[in-house]
């Protein structure tokens, strides 16, 4: 079984159907970029994978766990799946260290000293070791987002989900975050990224998905995807976006 | 002589509610008059006026209402003025209410952004006209929910007038409880009476607040 499997997933918000019969398989080690217009369902797709949104029908399987089942223990699963948000969502009342050690301490029961070591390690991976005792409002946007990534890495996840993580950043801060993502990709992390960074997707992703009106309209290996789009919708989207 | 609790008692309790209402209105009227002054002083350009307003609010809000009632109740005769108990209560309530209303209204005035004043001035309105046509209408809308909320407090506060012997709903309840030896039933009825007065106003205040939030 694949690491992530979506079968005929339908998601509605009130009268509005956001995901229409989506099927997707993600294997371990894949780097999948998801692109598309606003409202095409990209973020919702990601949020259905770790259960932040419940699907109306269909199945969502992550690492053998039936996420769509109301009785599922999402807690254990979410500890294995990292989710990085567009607006970072760091905890403002905690230091960087406490932000990162909260998960390991509370969810895994790891004690103080060991947790601190994990935090240092995670921060080193994102290049912010010296910010251990800072508060989030003392950091730039790019630094906050890297801390958010470190917070997920501290849980040693099997899968990382990124929901437009550079969209809220000033342009000059985007690079530092993308470099961290590239490093993670090289280390073999399975990643799904909803992104607008087309160059990054083309360079780093193994597969790219184009979402359009709630379905995966076209998908393919990165190079083919960008150089030879098969559908008119993807061609016009790429034309509008890559100028 | 002990009598049974009957509908006649419920009737007299209901009747006593009118004194609760009268006292509330008196306190509101007096409190508003003084409160307007406090709000005006509190937003003045002159520091002494602002300090006076701050001092008034600080002192009133730092002393229990019971103490204010007693001070006026016992104070008037000392200064050679004989007033009936209910007037002393009304004045005590007014002074107390002004300390809260004045602060609510001052807060509402102060919350109007400076840009509104500037916009009004730039279309040629004088200070008083700015106040009258642009600032005060907005301040009134902002101040109304907390003011209605405070009226609810005032209604409940009138219960303390019972302590200085004024026969409003609570005092009537005390007398009825003593006469019927049914304190639980009587005071529950009294509570119900206050609830009927307060709850609609509380809901109205919430409704106004929601409307205000939507409008912003």
């Amino acid at each position: 079984m694949s690491l992530v499997e979506l079968r005929s997933v339908v998601k509605r918000f009130g009268d509005h159907t956001v995901l229409r019969n989506v099927d997707l398989n993600v294997e371990k080690g894949e780097i999948i970029a998801i692109i598309g217009r606003s409202g095409s369902g990209k973020s919702t797709l990601l949020r259905c994978i770790n259960g932040l949104e419940a699907v109306n029908s269909g199945e969502v399987w992550v690492d053998g766990v039936a996420v769509h089942d109301p009785r599922a223990d999402l807690r254990a699963l979410r500890a294995q799946v990292g989710f990085v948000f567009q607006s970072f969502n760091l905890f403002p009342h905690l230091t960087v260290e406490r932000n990162i050690t909260l998960g390991p301490r509370i969810v895994r029961g790891i004690d103080g000293k060991a947790a601190e070591a994990i935090a240092r390690d995670a921060l080193k991976r994102v290049g912010l070791e010296e910010k251990l005792h800072a508060y989030s409002d003392q950091l730039s946007g790019g630094q906050q987002q890297r801390v958010a990534i470190a917070r997920c890495l501290a849980m040693s996840p099997k899968l990382m989900l990124f929901d437009e993580i550079t969209s809220a950043l000033d342009p000059e801060l985007v690079g530092e975050v993308l470099r961290v993502l590239e490093a993670m990709a090289r280390e073999g992390m399975t990643m799904l990224l909803v992104t607008h960074e087309m160059n990054f997707a083309r360079r780093v992703a193994s597969r790219v998905l184009f979402m359009h009106e709630g379905t995966i309209f076209e998908q393919g290996p990165a190079r083919e995807f960008f150089e030879a789009p098969k559908t008119e919708e993807l061609r016009s989207f790429l034309g509008a976006v890559l100028h | 002589m002990i009598r049974d609790l009957g509908w006649i008692d419920v009737f007299y309790l209901a009747l006593a509610m009118r004194w609760t209402i009268v006292l509330t209105l008196l306190g509101l009227a007096g409190g508003s008059a003084i409160g307007l002054l406090i709000a005006a002083f509190g937003t003045s350009r002159h520091v002494p006026a602002r300090l006076l307003a701050q001092g008034y609010v600080g002192v009133v809000q730092g002393i229990p209402l019971l103490a204010w009632l007693f001070i006026f109740y016992f104070g008037f005769p000392i200064f050679g003025v004989t007033v009936p108990g209910w007037i002393a209560a009304a004045i005590g309530l007014s002074v107390y209410a002004a300390g809260f209303l004045g602060e609510i209204w001052r807060g509402a005035l102060v919350s109007i952004p400076k840009t509104q004043w500037e916009a009004a001035a730039s279309i040629g309105l004088s200070y008083t006209k700015q106040l009258r046509h642009v600032i005060i209408p907005q301040a009134v809308r902002i101040a109304t929910p907390p003011t209605v909320g405070f009226v609810v407090q005032l209604i409940k506060n009138t219960s303390l007038a019972a302590v200085i012997g004024f026969v409003e709903l609570t005092r009537e309840g005390q007398m009825t409880a003593a006469a019927t030896l049914q304190p639980l039933a009587v005071f529950m009825l009294v509570a119900l009476g206050y609830f009927c007065l307060c709850y609609p106003l509380t809901q109205y205040s919430r409704f106004l607040e929601r409307k205000l939030r939507v409008a912003r």
Partner: protein
């Protein structure tokens, strides 16, 4: 003015005033502790409980907030004995005050809980924390910090409201005043002194709360 103010008699009774003051402070401290706990429970019940719990919390808050403290006190003190419950003055006073404060605290704390963005909760859940853990570690302190001024103002109001329990002869500061009044006939002076004492205590309390803020929510 054919009256000379005689504050001397009042000052002569300062021991009685001191005893009353001590009880006022004790009542305040106990009530704040229990009232806060009740308020937190009611707010949590409203925010996270099922429809039944939510209704119960709502009813409790509405009934208490729309009836006077004095009447609540009378219901408990004079009403409960007829149900066979015999209680002393001070426990009744504390309970009535705590139940009263709890309703006001509940509204304030609820506003605080609602002020924490949903995205914070999502971030916590995404790390694998339970809703309870998210509440305790992520929501609670920021919520309380946001409503700290309203909450502590309510606590100061509560301290002033303890004067009402004088009406069931709880020997706190205000009651001490009425005893002195009946002994010395210095009605006016007594209550002026008492008023000043309450004012001093309220200023003292506000200072304590300001210090607590720095201790609880400080940022090095």
């Amino acid at each position: 003015m054919a009256y000379s103010f005689q504050f001397r008699d009042v000052f002569a009774a300062r021991d009685a005033l001191q005893d009353g003051l001590v009880l006022t402070l004790q009542l305040t401290a106990t009530t704040i502790t229990f009232g806060f706990a009740i308020g937190l429970g009611a707010a949590a019940a409203y925010m996270y409980g099922g429809p039944l719990l939510r209704r119960a919390a709502q009813t409790y808050v509405e009934v208490i907030r729309n009836t006077p403290l004095l009447v609540q006190l009378f219901v408990m003190f004079f009403g409960l004995p007829s149900l066979g419950v015999k209680l002393d003055v001070i426990p009744v006073a504390t309970t009535a005050l705590a139940i009263n404060l709890g309703a006001y605290a509940a509204e304030i704390i609820r506003a605080g809980l609602e002020s924490v963005p949903k995205s914070q909760v999502e971030a916590g859940l995404s790390l694998g924390m339970t809703r309870g853990e998210v509440f305790r570690h992520i929501v609670l302190m920021p919520a309380l910090r946001n409503v700290y001024p309203s909450l502590t103002s309510q606590f100061v109001l509560l301290m002033l409201a303890t004067s009402v329990v004088s009406q069931i002869a709880a020997p706190e500061l205000f009651y001490a005043g009425s005893i002195i009044q009946s002994r010395t006939y210095r009605d006016f002076e007594v209550y002026v002194v008492i008023a000043v004492m309450y004012l001093a205590v309220s200023l003292f309390l506000r200072a304590i709360f300001a210090i607590c803020y720095h201790l609880l929510f400080r940022r090095p």
